[in-house]
């Protein structure tokens, strides 16, 4: 590729195969196939957290991380759209500090739409969605200040988080907020687990919108994802067996195994 790999075709084949499986499951789901999705406690806790904010009469904080406009940010906005519908219904005050200007403009639209969809456009305050700074620690200090000053009741952190994750989570903990967090950056997961009440781990993050909305397209895509993971897991098992056979120099099988290993060796 561009062109890092000399052997791009095996990667392309696996990627296309996974894509076909995902699309096939989406089409099946759209045709009305019933799909099961396991319980994700962190997502179930969203309503509990909003309810708590309603009881306490304190704001709900939503942080879409510090990443740019990407699928990760879109996924976060999808979850926040659901949260905003609930807060519109119960009349909670929301705060949504944003670090990326592009995410900010889309976020404003998404939250405004959520309020409109609930029939309470008048409850939407434009100032609740705020661009703070695109510098990591300037943003971190801004969010920490908001948490302290506004004494938030619930905090939702979904998106791309780096070193600032613990600053948000621990400051939220200081003011006694109930906190739900999820990120694709595995190094930040331990910090969230230590300081938050619920944490979404790994690809649960991408399952969130399907879990919340129960939209057939998303549910189908989620099941397709699992099939994709199964495909990769199978390749891992086959690879392990092949590596063993190649190392043992088993006649014929060993050569075939070596061919398979070479297919996926990029260095």
């Amino acid at each position: 590729m561009q062109h890092a790999f000399e052997k791009i075709w095996p990667v392309l084949i696996v990627e296309v195969l996974t894509a076909v499986i995902i699309i096939w499951r989406i089409v099946s789901a759209q045709r009305g196939k019933e799909l099961f999705i396991r319980r994700i406690p962190g997502l179930n806790a969203i309503d509990e957290a909003i309810g708590r904010a309603t009881e306490m009469g304190r704001p709900v904080l939503m942080v879409p991380g510090i990443g740019g406009f990407s699928i990760i940010a879109l996924q976060a906005l999808s979850i926040f759209s659901y949260i905003a519908r609930s807060t519109a219904k119960f009349g909670n005050r929301i705060l949504m500090p944003v670090a990326d200007p592009t995410v900010y403009t889309v976020a404003e639209e998404v939250i405004r739409d959520a309020y409109q969809a609930e029939g309470h456009p008048e409850r939407f305050e434009a100032d609740s969605i705020r661009f703070l700074s695109d510098r990591q620690f300037a943003f971190a200090s801004g969010v920490a200040g908001l948490i302290q000053r506004e004494q938030i009741a619930s905090s939702f952190m979904f998106g791309e988080f780096f070193a600032e994750s613990l600053i948000f989570a621990e400051t939220g903990n200081m003011v006694g907020a109930i906190q739900v967090a999820g990120t694709v950056h595995t190094t930040q997961i331990p910090f969230f687990i230590a300081a938050c009440d619920y944490t979404i781990i790994g690809d649960e993050y991408y399952a969130a919108s399907a879990y919340i909305s129960r939209n057939p397209t998303m549910l189908g895509s989620l099941v397709g994802q699992d099939f994709g993971k199964l495909l990769i897991a199978s390749l891992c098992v086959i690879g392990s067996v092949a590596a063993t056979l190649a190392a043992l120099e088993v006649p014929v099988l060993g050569t075939a195994s070596q061919w398979f290993i070479n297919l996926f060796t990029i260095r």
Partner: protein
């Protein structure tokens, strides 16, 4: 095929540049006007088409075989203009972001809300940084350069470092609170954390320094146990999570690329 387009977007001589800029502005205004007034049933396929073509460009550029002599394919040269287009969009939205800041903090000051002086500090800092930054870059005033140096190296960098160092304090309070041996799993987690922490620092290494460097018993040295936990147990879990995230990312990208995602983010009709 793309040659005329590339020629159109190439750098222009100064004498014709204003005409191109004026043309681009007029074209943008016209496009926005057309898009706003387009009926919903025409707008949807248009957005879907643009999204699909944009995705197709990057995917084709990535996978299409390259010419060995030039190390690129027929689309590679358009990556930079495409990225510049992204930067332009980012620049435009930054203006909206700054307007948001001015609106929120301007109101705080105008209505003398609690902590309004913090808003004053923010706006003064923002204006100073921009002004002295521009003077440092384009001006010849030594005084301005010195002020910018104080603002940037003397203040901003150190405030960044201060915020980052806060994490050390928060790690102490979070780990003290979180590591309770409430269950078998929590106990395993805590023991593992202890081993990794001990293996990470010389004081931990000193504990098992009496064990031989090589041989069977060397595996019991705390730094080797830590290395084993990180490179075998932890790395395996990280790989599994990475696979899941990769496939999840692919699924969402597909849904967006093929416009299967409509209605997920914007509740109203686009």
């Amino acid at each position: 095929m793309f040659e005329p387009i590339a020629r159109f977007f190439s750098a222009k001589p100064p004498e014709v540049l204003p005409y191109y800029v004026a043309g681009a502005v007029l074209f943008s205004i016209l496009m926005i006007f057309v898009l706003i007034n387009l009926p919903s049933r025409a707008r949807k396929p248009l957005i879907a088409l643009v999204t699909f073509l944009a995705g197709l460009f990057y995917a084709t550029e990535f996978f299409f075989p390259i010419d060995r002599a030039t190390n690129k394919n027929f689309l590679t040269d358009y990556l930079v203009p495409a990225s510049k287009l992204g930067s332009l969009l980012g620049g435009m939205t930054l203006t909206l972001g700054i307007l948001s800041l001015l609106r929120v903090h301007g109101r705080n000051i105008a209505r003398l809300r609690a902590g309004w002086y913090n808003s004053v500090a923010l706006l003064v800092a923002m204006v100073s940084m921009v002004t002295f930054g521009l003077m440092d870059k384009y001006g010849a005033n030594d005084g301005a350069k010195k002020v910018f140096n104080v603002l940037f190296e003397g203040m901003l960098i150190n405030m960044d470092a201060t915020m980052f160092s806060l994490i050390a304090f928060y790690i102490v309070s979070a780990s003290y609170r979180a590591f309770r041996i409430r269950s078998i799993e929590a106990t395993i987690l805590m023991v593992t954390a202890f081993l990794v922490m001990l293996g990470q620092v010389p004081v931990g290494n000193a504990l098992t320094d009496w064990l031989p460097q090589d041989g069977t018993f060397a595996s019991l040295r705390v730094e080797n146990i830590k290395q084993w936990i990180l490179s075998q147990v932890n790395a395996a879990a990280l790989r599994a999570i990475a696979f899941g995230l990769g496939v999840g990312g692919l699924a969402i990208s597909l849904r967006i690329w093929l416009s299967l995602e409509r209605g997920a983010y914007f509740e109203k009709e686009i």
